[in-house]
Every structure is written in structure tokens, then in C-alpha cells.
Symmetry: C2
Subunit: 257 residues, 2 copies
């Protein structure tokens, strides 16, 4: 039974071995999965879940995501993730998140941007008319707007992957979190030890399918990690078959002290 | 503070989106991670954890694992995993597991086989003399003995992977559960939909490292999944660089009705 109100939804998570990186902390890929899990649970409670949408001939598409993290939780810690919806602006609905320690200290914020599409026509629907937003939308804003990431300048290919069975999620789609994992896997391991990730922004431009070959390219004007103390590195994902840009992403980092 | 007693240890888990396969059930890879998580927690409580062992100049090596599953839990369900230690036979210590539904119905059993090695000499230590086993070992036996898996007959190469950053765990080693994921990824997706996995047995023969190329080979005498209603398929993992056999595995399956 749908439970329509605008209160933020909170899920508690324990940071298990499956969620941590070799540095012993919750990694970006693990966190993105926890955000997704929280969003799924909240959407279902609200009668907004995938099955609810399906019954109405609709589906949600995640178009952009932007995350800011101050501290990455350690293996064995407990965290809270809060999520809420914002009133749509045009066709876009924003789902926002706050990541908190067990004692309530805010260590991260995230904003995601969604479009509602018609299953048949694949047309974008005017989100404003879909729901009684004044009953659903929460006033809090993270202040984060997931922007369009431009694809300009020269890129170099740094990795190539083939989409595997294990990239598919419960919806039989390549899970969006895998795009982040491909980027992280394309970054030399030693850099993961010397750099701390502060921000992650991604635009989802096209879907990938089982067996697709995907190249990860790095923008050549991204700052040199040997020289800079902090900076932003830009990436894009390209399907080998049709050279379609699948995603663009920017990772903001600083050197560990 | 170590808490040495022989009582089985129980951990409770919620089956999240990160743990399920596209069929909406806990997958082998997810389950192996939960078993590992349970083992790690229990080992630490017992003063047997990796750090405890390190202080004594020792480390544990997982050599064999064998799992029998009756039912695979669904997305959103809660399960219990129990673990206990068995008195060593020669150098080998067995850690066993029972997988139960929330209401206590046993849906799976697993046995793992471990060796204690000296960090310096890499020599196998006589496990029998390492601990007061009469205080630690539990009487229950799953009845499963992880056997040596023979490497005989003809094999065909079915996949090749390069070890990625995301294959490394908190110990900076390629996590043993990844070997299972490589096999599952090498099996055509359609077979995952038509076959149910009943058993999984693996022998860990050599460690892999970041950047290694690993081939998955399938034993040609494994039964034809088009004709048989059930059977066992044998696999091995091979490092391209030195052709070393890294692991052998057998998956027991039946056709879904």
C-alpha cells in the first residue's frame, strides 16, 4: 500500500566487506549501490516503484547524478542514508540524499535527476502533472544541481570492457553503478591509494547491453595528478560498436596528506 | 578481546539489490560474500582474525570450499548464516556454515578448508598444535567434505578476464569470491535463466594479481545442458602468463521446471 507523504526516508546500513575498497573504506561503487537501494525502498513505499510505474505504462530514467563526500566511512561502521523528492522543474524530478554517520553527522550529499517516460511511445512525460507534488515534495535542498557535463577537447582511451552477466541488475539492465566501477577500474591502482575522491558527477546518455564493448576515455586536459594537489578529471564512456557516448563523468579529487 | 568458545556464531543478513542476480534471487557471488563476511566476524571474535594471525607471524589460506543449496533466497528476504569450526584433521581446519531462512528453515550448507601458514617460511603449520581445539571445535558436521577436484580430460576456453582494481578486497588480494564470478560470467546468460545451481565446489590453487590475464576453461566432457535434465559442469582457471592452474571448480545444476 502506497504511503504518500513528504517526510524524508531513512535507511541504516552496516559497511560490510562487500562494500569496501582495498583501503578499507566504503568505496564509490558501494555507496552508489546503497543510495540506489535506499531510493528503491522509498519509491516502493511511495507507490513509485518500478512495478507501480509499469502498471501505469511508465518508467523512470536516471539521467544525472552528482555526489559530494566529505568522509568515506570505514569497514564495520554503520551509516544512515536519507532520501526525499523535490518538486519537479519541467520534466525533471530530483531525488536527493544525505549520508550521515551513526551519530547523525552529515558526511555526504547527493542529488539525482529523473525523467518519467511512456513505455509505449518512449516520450518524456511532464512530471509536474503526474503526481500531487505538494503532498510529496520535501522542502530541503542539498543545493547540488547535477549539471550537463560537456564533451569537449581531446580524450585518450584508457580501458576497454565487455559488458558481463554480473553487470546486470534485477531489472536485467546494466546497472548505472557499473559505469562508476568501470571508471574506477580504469584508474591506475596506485592513484587510488594517493588520491581522495571528493565529488562524482555523471550523465547517463545511453543504455548498454550484455556483450557490448565499452571504452573508457579520459579527457587529456584533466590536471596531472603528479603535479596538482587537487583537481577534476573528466571521463566518457563510448560503445565500440556505434561510437555512441554512453556516459560522461567528472571525478573531483585531492591528494591524500 | 578474544572470546574463545565453541558455540556456532550467527549473523543476520537482508538480501539487498547488491546481492541479487537478474533473476531477483541471492546469487552465488552474493552468498559467497555473505559467508566470508560471517567467517571474518566470527574469526575476529575468536581472536583468529587476520590481524591476530599477523601478530603471531601466521596467516590462513582458504584451500577448498563446497556448498549445497536447496533454495536461493529472494530479494528483500532476511536470512541467517551460522558458522562454526571443526577440529583439524592433519593440517586442515574446517569452517562450516548453515544457511537458514528467517524462520529457521535450513536452505543450505557449506564447508571450507583452511591451512595455517608461517608468514616468513610460507611453510604449512600443524593446525592441531596451534590452538586448544577441544575448547573451540564444535561437534556438528555438515557431512560435506570439500574434495580435491581432478584436472583431467579436454577443456575448451570460454572466457578471458584481466584482474581489475575492483577484484581486490580489503586485504589487497584478489578475493576468492571473484573466481566464482568469473565462472558465472563465462556461462551464457540464457543458461542462467534455465538452470538452477544446486552445488558449487572449488579448489584454490594459486593466487592471482592485479593485471593478470585469467582464462576460464570448461571441461568438454561436462554434460550437454540442452539434453540433460541435471548434471555437473567442471571448470578451471588458468593464468595466461605462466599457464598455471589457479582454480578448479564444479557446478552442479538442474533444469528449472
Amino acid at each position: 500500500m502506497a504511503n504518500i507523504n513528504n517526510a524524508p526516508w531513512t535507511e541504516n546500513f552496516h559497511i560490510t566487506s562487500l562494500l569496501v575498497n582495498p583501503l578499507g573504506r566504503l568505496g564509490l561503487y558501494g555507496l552508489l549501490n546503497l543510495l540506489q537501494e535506499t531510493a528503491w525502498i522509498h519509491a516502493e513505499k511511495m507507490g513509485f516503484g518500478m512495478q507501480d510505474m509499469e502498471q501505469q505504462g511508465l518508467f523512470w530514467v536516471l539521467t544525472r547524478q552528482s555526489l559530494q563526500m566529505k568522509t568515506w566511512p570505514r569497514f564495520g561502521e554503520n551509516i544512515q542514508i536519507q532520501t526525499w523528492l523535490r518538486a519537479p522543474e519541467g520534466a525533471f524530478v530530483a531525488r536527493e540524499f544525505a549520508i550521515l554517520t551513526q551519530s547523525g553527522e552529515e558526511i555526504g550529499l547527493c542529488s539525482t535527476s529523473w525523467l518519467a517516460l511512456d513505455r509505449q511511445s518512449k516520450k518524456i512525460l511532464p512530471a509536474e502533472t503526474l503526481r500531487p507534488w505538494d503532498q510529496i515534495a520535501h522542502a530541503r535542498s542539498t543545493g547540488i544541481t547535477p549539471e550537463k557535463i560537456p564533451v569537449t577537447g581531446t580524450y585518450e582511451k584508457i580501458a576497454k570492457y565487455r559488458v558481463r552477466n554480473s553487470d546486470l541488475d534485477i531489472n536485467q539492465h546494466v546497472n548505472n553503478t557499473k559505469y562508476a566501477q568501470w571508471i574506477l577500474d580504469a584508474i591506475p591502482y596506485d592513484l587510488h591509494k594517493s588520491l581522495k575522491l571528493n565529488t562524482y558527477s555523471v550523465n547517463f546518455l545511453a543504455e548498454t547491453h550484455l556483450g557490448d564493448e565499452v571504452e573508457v576515455h579520459r579527457n587529456c586536459s584533466s590536471p596531472d595528478v603528479q603535479l596538482a594537489t587537487h583537481g577534476e578529471s573528466a571521463y566518457k564512456g563510448l560503445r565500440v560498436g556505434d561510437e555512441k557516448v554512453l556516459f560522461t563523468a567528472v571525478l573531483g579529487w585531492e591528494k591524500r596528506k
